[in-house]
Point group: C2
Chain length 320, copies 2
C-alpha cells in the first residue's frame, strides 16, 4: 500500500484562488511581493492570477499588471487560470504568463452548471474546442482537471464510474488525435474526499489507465486535507495544488463560511513531506515567512498551522 | 496495515485544556452550557476542569463550582485533571467528579522538568506514591500518559527506547503489585508526531506489550493531526483525547503562538471516523452546534473546520 514518491511538486494557488475570493483587492505591490517570496522559497509553479470577467471577479481585474510587475525567477513557472477563449487571449497577450494548456471537466453535472454554466457533456465538447485553440497557438495540453471527483454539494455522492468516464473521454480523445496524455488532476473543491475515497478513486483511475500521471486538487474544507494527502502520497501521487497559509476557497461551492474552505495548506503539506523524507525542493522556513506575509496582507489569521507554531528545525538544532 | 476499529471513543478535553490557556475566565454558566451540549451530543467522557494551583492557572479556580453546576447525564463520565495530591484531594471533595486514576510519565527529562518540575525518574517514583494514594481511596489506576512520546521541544528527538522504557516501568510495576494494566496513552503535546512515527511507536509498544490498550493524546500543532489520527485508526487505536473546535493548547510547550496549538479537533475527527464507517456514538450535527457555542464563548474563530463548513449530511439529504 505504501509507495511514497521521492519527490513531490506543489502548484501554489494562493495568489489566484486565495485572493480571488476576497471582497477587496490588496495593493499590487504586496501581491507581487508574495509571489516573489513564494518563488524565492523554491516553489516551482505558482498560479499568479486568473483572466476572468472583471465584473464577476473584480479582484483579478489587474492580472496583466500583476504579471508585468513580477520579477521572474528561472526555473519557476508563473501560471494563470482562464475559463473562456477571451481569458486565454488575455493570457496570450501577457508575455510573462507561462502558458500551459489545461482544461476542466466535471464528474457532476450540477457542479458544472453552477461553476461553468454548461452541462458536463458540453464541457466535454469544449475540450475539443480548447485543444484546437491550444494547437493554433502552439500550447501543449498538459493538464485536465476532473472536478467534483469525490462528491458534489449539488448532486451528493459522485459514482467512481462518473470519474472514470471523464478520464476515458480524455484518453480516447488523445488516442484519436495522436496527442500525448495530459496529467489528470482529481479535484475536490467541495471537500468530500476522505483517505479511503482517495485510495479508491486513485486506485480505480490507475487500474483503468495505468499510463496516466495523476495529481490532486484538494481543499481542507472539513479537516481531512492532511489525511487525504498522506493517503495519496502512499499511493505514489507526486503533484498537489495547494495554497499558502491555506488561503482561499471556492466561491461557488455553496459553503456557509467560505473562509474555512481553502485549499490544502502548502507549508503544512511541505512539512508533512519533509517529515516523511520526501523532497520538495522547497525551503520550509522561507515558505513559512511567505505565509506570514500572506497573513499580513489579508489582515486576519490564516488557517495554516506550521506558520504559527514554527517548524521543528529550531528545536532539533537547539538539541544538537 | 489497515485494522480500523469498529468504534472509537473520544475524551473531550476542550473545557479543561482549552479554557485553561485563556487569559480570562468565561462566565460559569456558559462553560456549564458547553459541557452540557457536548454531553448531549453523545460524547461519553469529558474533562471538565483541573484542580491545580489557582495562582498559576486562575481560569480553573472555580472548578468545584463548575462541577456542582453541571447536570450530569447517565453514561457520561465527567473527569478532572490533577497534578498534585492537593489537587486529588480537591477532586475527592467534589462529589460530581467521576474519579479515575491516572498518572503522567515522561519520555523526555526536559519536558518533565518544564511541565512538572521534576526529573522523569522522580516522575516514576511519584507513580508509586500515586498508586498508593489511589488504593487508599479505592480509585483504580486506569490510565498512564507517556508525555513527549514523539519528540520534545527541549530535547529534540525522543528515542523509541525512551518510550518503551516508561511503558515497561508501568507494566512491571503492575505485575509486581498484581494490578490490572492501565491504558497507556502516548502524548504529543508539542506536535512532533507524523503518520510514520505514529505507526512506528504504536507498533513498537504493541510488539513489546501486546496486551496493552493504547490511546493517543495528539495536538494539531503543525497540521498533521488528521493524518496522524488516520494512521492510528489503521493501527486499530480506539481512544483519542480531543478538543471541541480545536480549542486550547499546552501553555508550557514554548510555542510562538499558542492559539494554533490546540488538541486535535473533536468534531473534525468524529467526521473522519464517520466517513470511514467507524462508530463513535456521537451525533455529529449536535457536536458541531456545541463547537459553535465554544466559538461564541471564546469570541474568536476557532480552528475547527467542519464547524464552519458544515458536515456533508445536508448535501446528501438534499441529493436523495
Amino acid at each position: 500500500m505504501s509507495d511514497l514518491p521521492n519527490r513531490v511538486t506543489f502548484h501554489e494557488h494562493g495568489p489566484r484562488e486565495g485572493f480571488q475570493i476576497e471582497d477587496r483587492q490588496f495593493p499590487l505591490a504586496r501581491r507581487v511581493a508574495l509571489v516573489d517570496a513564494i518563488a524565492a522559497a523554491g516553489v516551482s509553479r505558482i498560479q499568479v492570477a486568473s483572466f476572468v470577467n472583471p465584473k464577476v471577479v473584480p479582484t483579478m481585474a489587474d492580472a496583466r499588471e500583476l504579471f508585468a510587475a513580477i520579477e521572474k525567477r528561472p526555473g519557476v513557472r508563473y501560471t494563470a487560470l482562464w475559463l473562456s477563449p477571451w481569458g486565454f487571449e488575455q493570457a496570450l497577450a501577457t508575455p510573462q504568463v507561462d502558458r500551459y494548456g489545461n482544461v476542466v471537466l466535471y464528474a457532476s453535472n450540477g457542479f458544472c452548471l453552477s461553476n461553468n454554466n454548461c452541462t458536463k457533456l458540453e464541457a466535454r465538447a469544449r475540450l475539443h474546442e480548447w485543444t484546437a485553440l491550444y494547437d493554433d497557438h502552439g500550447v501543449a495540453l498538459e493538464q485536465v482537471y476532473v472536478l467534483a471527483a469525490f462528491g458534489c454539494n449539488f448532486e451528493g455522492e459522485v459514482p467512481i464510474a462518473a470519474v472514470i468516464d471523464e478520464v476515458r473521454f480524455v484518453v480516447e480523445l488523445c488516442r484519436e488525435q495522436g496527442r500525448e496524455l495530459p496529467r489528470i488532476d482529481l479535484d475536490d473543491s467541495m471537500g468530500w474526499a476522505d483517505p479511503h475515497t482517495i485510495r479508491q478513486r486513485i486506485g480505480a483511475v490507475r487500474e483503468a489507465f495505468p499510463e496516466l500521471e495523476i495529481g490532486l486538487h484538494l481543499h481542507d474544507t472539513r479537516g481531512l486535507g492532511g489525511a487525504c494527502v498522506f493517503a495519496a502520497l502512499e499511493m505514489g501521487v507526486r503533484h498537489f495544488d495547494s495554497s499558502i497559509g491555506g488561503l482561499g476557497g471556492c466561491p461557488f461551492a455553496r459553503l456557509k463560511d467560505r473562509v474555512a474552505a481553502g485549499n490544502i495548506c502548502t507549508e503544512d503539506m511541505v512539512f508533512l513531506c519533509h517529515e516523511l523524507g520526501i523532497e520538495t525542493g522547497i525551503d520550509l522556513e522561507a515558505l513559512i515567512e511567505a505565509a506570514r506575509l500572506a497573513e499580513e496582507i489579508v489582515g486576519r489569521p490564516l488557517m495554516g498551522r506550521v506558520m504559527h507554531s514554527g517548524s521543528l528545525a529550531e528545536y532539533r538544532a537547539a538539541a544538537r
